[in-house]
Structures are given as structure tokens and as C-alpha cells.
Chain length 147, copies 2
DNA sequence: GATGAAAGATGTGGCGG
DNA sequence: CCGCCACATCTTTCATC
């Protein structure tokens, strides 16, 4: 389903997703048409879900990043997760096992913005408690892994 | 530093970062050259750090996503974070205050792969303990926030 | 700062091998 | 998968406002 050539192409796109098909073809040593067809297939198969800029959110005003653990009632967990995921501050929502039931990564423009969000979380039916870790430093934040 | 036009352009790029400058220009109602210059400036200023494909990592073999809390000795924390960030399984490393000192988001190809990583963490000098949350479901995972 | 034009590069689809 | 073709579209620059 994904062969060596696909992986090479994806890997190049991870470095610069705005490279032309010709440049990519040159780098991997295949014909332009092949690169074009591979990328199109990878998009159709949903392996590539789209393309996005990597942004410096701190420079865009999001000076606060938080990792929030949520404990919630089993019956409502899926609904709660979906509701949380809708909030525009939220980057990630994981359904987990362990100390918490849900882990949320969210970014805010200042403390006020964050406090409002956490209070909103606690008002959701089924949410029992939350624990907020505030990031003092983002050492790495990039969903670009080796393929 | 970032005006309304910049935000509009960024917002469009977030939807599809491979759109042509022409298409973007059409959408925001300015000349092509303007869009071109704005995006170049945003890149130069480091607000846009590059472009990447959004990948379905599950389809690429990463079937296990984890959120790992790490407790470590204060003196060594920054070094430890950098070391963790180097591992190719690691997407995010946050220096946090709270229950843990470091929170790590990492993805693995199977339990073995994960176990090796956690054992490696525990062998790092200064790491006291770790707590691993395994994601049963990824409800949302997308560093694309409103600008 | 923004604009539109223009030259060369690229995207896109299709052909036979 | 390659090489080639062909037309439409795009990137990038720049003189001009």
C-alpha cells in the first residue's frame, strides 16, 4: 500500500510541501508523472490528508500552551471529547487509559482565555475534574515523524 | 507585524497549503504579487516555518500514540528534554509545571517499539519516573488553530 | 506598500513503450 | 514506471503607481 518510493516522496514533502513535482522527481530520481500520480494516490487514499503551513503560534499571539488531563464519567466520554474538540483553542484530544480519561492540548492568548476554557470544561456534563499542565517551554511540537 | 490580510492568507493556507498564489489572491481580493510578497515575508519572519503534509500516521504504521509524563531532577531537565526530542518517535516535548516536569507526545509501531522507548527514557540520567497514557482513540490531532 | 504584465517554469492529462 | 507532448496555469520579477 505504501512502498519505498511513496515514503521517499512523503519524506521530501515533510521538508517542504510546496516543492514542485519536478523538484521532487529530481530528488527521488523518477519521472515527474510518477511523482504526480503517487501524490494524487496518497491523497485519495487519505494517507496525505492535505497540506498546511507550520506556524509559530507564539508569534501569532498564542502565548500559552496547556496539556489538560480530564476525568469524566464513562458513559459520556465520547460526547465530551467531541465537544471539547470543537473548541477553537484545541489542537489535540486523546481518549486515553490511565490516570485521566481524556488528554487535551490547547493554546490560549493569555491567562484569561485559558481560565475561561477550563471553567467551560468543568461545566460540561460528565466532567468530574481536570488537571492543567502549563507549558513553560515548547521544546518540540511538530507532527512530522519519520515514515 | 501581522495584519488582517496576513491572517486571511494564513487561514487559507491552513485549509490548503498547496493552493497557488493566484487562487489565494482571488480569494482574498488582492493582486498575486501582494500574496506572494506577504507569504515570503511571513516565512522570513518565521511566522510561517514551512509547509508540511498532514499525514494519517495510523495508515503509515504508527498504530500507537502515547502521552508520557516524566518526572526528572531539576538540574538536568533541559538536557533531558533535548535528548528526548531527538528520538524519531517524538512529536512534542513540553516543559511543564505541575504533576510532571516534562510531557511527551510520541508515536510507535507496536508495543515493542513503545516499550523500548519507555525503557530508554528511564535509563536517561536524571529521569525519576514516567507515566504513560496510551491513546485508545485520537479524537483530534491537528495543530491548525484560528489565527 | 500594491499592482498588472510578461517570461520562463510548472501542473495536468494523455500517449505508446 | 518512463519519456514525450501539449495546453493551461503558475511563479517570480519588476516597472509603475
Amino acid at each position: 500500500m505504501v512502498d519505498e518510493l511513496d515514503r521517499k516522496i512523503i519524506s521530501i514533502l515533510q521538508e517542504d510541501a510546496r516543492l514542485s513535482y519536478r523538484e521532487i522527481a529530481k530528488k527521488v530520481g523518477v519521472a515527474v508523472g510518477t511523482v504526480y500520480n503517487r501524490i494524487k494516490r496518497l491523497e485519495e487514499e487519505g494517507i496525505i490528508r492535505g497540506f498546511a503551513p507550520k506556524l509559530d503560534y507564539a508569534k501569532l499571539g498564542y502565548d500559552l500552551t496547556t496539556i489538560i488531563g480530564v476525568k469524566a464519567q464513562g458513559k459520556r466520554i465520547i460526547e465530551i471529547e467531541r465537544e471539547i474538540a470543537k473548541d477553537p483553542h484545541v489542537a489535540c484530544v486523546y481518549d486515553v487509559t490511565g490516570e485521566y480519561d481524556i488528554i487535551v492540548i490547547a493554546k490560549f492568548r493569555g491567562r484569561e482565555d485559558m481560565n475561561r476554557f477550563v471553567k467551560k470544561l468543568l461545566r460540561i456534563d460528565g466532567v468530574e475534574k481536570t488537571y492543567t499542565h502549563v507549558a513553560m517551554d515548547i521544546v518540540k511540537e511538530d507532527l512530522t515523524l519519520e515514515v
